[in-house]
């Protein structure tokens, strides 16, 4: 049994820096690499892709990435854990197996975690009186049942640990808590017990620090962003975990970025609710017990974390179709930039009204002045230029499409000194609304399948 492992963060979201995972496995020693691809609405996008082509429905970025890192991770025996399987972990596995064959790599073992996708089980669950009511509003699922696009259970570390036990070099999951991708290898390597709440909670906290990639190592750092060296070559975080439950957050040497108590603290506060009650499938972590101390250059020691038993529920993430939106922008220049943008907005609204179009919301913002801070922002006396940004939302796709046709005419039929219409007419986008719920753990079972390359 090793007494120390290094777990690298490779991706913090689908669309993250593509060089980061390559750097993580080539610029220094690591034993595991986790990659998070799934935001709340990502599954619905993948579900649509799979409906068009049953072989898709996973993070396609994984393939060119695997093409470049497979030889390295096999040679160095670095194990990769990712939730990039989306709604089709098996399809993702098969595509990676094909790549491995092409690269002449033999004996590759890939584990998939499935069973999280309950889209086909919603009626069965409902017949068992499991109403996946909205955990925020309390509404019954029946309100949106016929518009549900995706439905996935957040599994934790258990099935990942099982896949690692069966010798998987790569573990591909569907919906999994982001944090599990980081603490599963600690449980696997150190044999932590499932009721060792404090150690599990420490792993969870490390997972929360790693799950957003560079956001823990100096990216998006508000305390003193100018002090962060070489953001162009930012090193993503690495958790150096020891058997005794102490964890050091660090990054590779000779990379940019910064690991300090301040950078790590900012990430700890990102997207949390009640800090005493950070719920995961395996335990509840108390973020008010976390102790951080600088333990060398770009090294922060994490200790003291207390945990307590998990709940009887898994969280379920569902999405449903809820109409359409479109956003149009135009740029107005001095003189009277803001007055002209406001006048254009009024003309646009009058024309939309004359057409009898119905929208659930029309929202106007002035980018450069108040789109971020709203009424908190003060407006300068002279505005050199401003972007008028108008968004609409409606169940009526035709109304949203027609709105898109009303933007460009403002250039020749509205106030002067206007530009910035290069992208063509704004197109309607699908609104995918989010429906969070809870499900008794007894109602769903993760399944683990580990396969060796054919």
């Amino acid at each position: 049994m090793r007494d120390k492992i290094r777990i690298a963060s490779g991706q913090g979201f689908w669309g993250d820096l593509l060089t980061a995972p390559v750097d993580q496995v080539t610029k220094g020693p690591v034993d595991y690499m986790m990659m998070d691809y799934l935001a709340e609405v990502t599954m619905s996008i993948m579900q649509k892709q799979k409906m068009k082509d049953p072989s898709l429905g996973y993070a396609k970025d994984l393939l060119p990435l695997m093409q470049s890192i497979l030889p390295v991770i096999v040679q160095k025996n670095i194990r990769v854990i990712t939730n990039g399987g989306g709604v089709n972990p098996e399809g993702c596995r098969d595509a990676i197996f094909k790549l491995a064959t092409k690269l002449g790599i033999r004996g590759l073992r890939i584990g998939v975690v499935i069973g999280d996708n309950i889209l086909d089980r919603l009626d069965e669950l409902s017949s068992k009186n499991i109403d996946l009511k909205n955990m925020e509003s309390g509404e019954s699922l029946s309100a949106v049942r016929n518009r549900i696009v995706s439905a996935n259970v957040y599994f934790g570390a258990r099935p990942i640990v099982e896949a690692l036990r069966q010798g998987a070099h790569i573990v591909i999951t569907g919906r999994t808590t982001d944090t599990a991708l980081t603490y599963a290898p600690m449980i696997h390597e150190f044999g932590w017990k499932w009721d060792d709440w404090d150690k599990l909670a420490t792993g969870v906290v490390a997972g929360h620090i790693l799950e957003c990639g560079g956001q823990a190592t100096g990216g998006n750092f508000s305390a003193d962003w100018k002090s962060v060296p070489d953001l162009a070559h930012i090193g993503f975080p690495i958790a150096e975990a020891r058997n005794d439950g102490s964890i050091v957050i660090t990054k590779h040497e000779n990379t940019g970025g910064l690991v300090s108590v301040a950078t790590v603290s900012e990430q700890l506060l990102y997207e949390i609710g009640d800090p005493t009650c950070y719920i995961t499938p395996e335990c509840i972590a108390d973020f008010t017990t976390i102790r951080l101390e600088q333990a060398g250059t770009n090294r922060v020691l994490l200790s003291g974390v207390k945990g307590r038993p998990a709940t009887e529920f898994y969280k379920v993430s569902m999405s449903y179709a809820d109409g359409y939106t479109a956003v149009g922008t135009l740029t107005y220049a001095w003189p009277d930039a803001l007055e002209k943008a406001k006048a254009a907005d009024a003309i646009l609204r009058t024309r939309l009204g004359d057409l009898g179009l119905r929208f659930d919301e029309i929202r106007t913002e002035f980018v450069g002045l108040n789109s971020c801070h709203g009424p908190i922002a003060s407006i300068p006396a002279v505005v050199n230029e401003v972007v008028l940004r108008v968004g609409v939302r409606s169940r009526d796709r035709a109304a949203v499409e027609r709105f898109g046709q009303e933007i460009a005419p403002l250039i020749l039929t509205g106030p002067p000194a206007v530009t910035g219409f290069a992208g063509g007419r704004p197109k309607p986008s699908d609104v995918i609304a989010y429906w969070p719920a809870l499900i008794p753990k007894s109602a769903v079972q993760p399944r683990v399948v580990v396969t060796e390359a054919p």
């Binding site: 008010t288 017990t289 971020c372 009424p375 968004g391 969070p436």
Partner: protein, 109 residues
Amino acid sequence: MKIELIAIAHGRSGDKGDTGNVGIIARKPEYYPILRRYVTAEAVKKHFAGICLGTVERFELPNLCALNFLLHETLGGGGTVSLKNDAQGKTLSSALLRMEIEVSEPVQL
């Protein structure tokens, strides 16, 4: 004396549905009691008038010299429903750091 929060704190914000989460951290441990005393849920609700349409909850993390706020009904519906440029509340923390507080005790800046 009047202090703009950015002088004594830094922070980060994000989203959970239509709720914005704003975490702020004291730049020095001695600033934490100031944050705790003056940056109340009520003060934050008032600061975000017209932006936060729901309630504001405050949680304390003395171990990190930090406060975490939940701003309900703040993101125009949240996610892909929202028409806001900042639909995910990424800039809410900097908006909070603009807040001015009037403190009665001496503060070494």
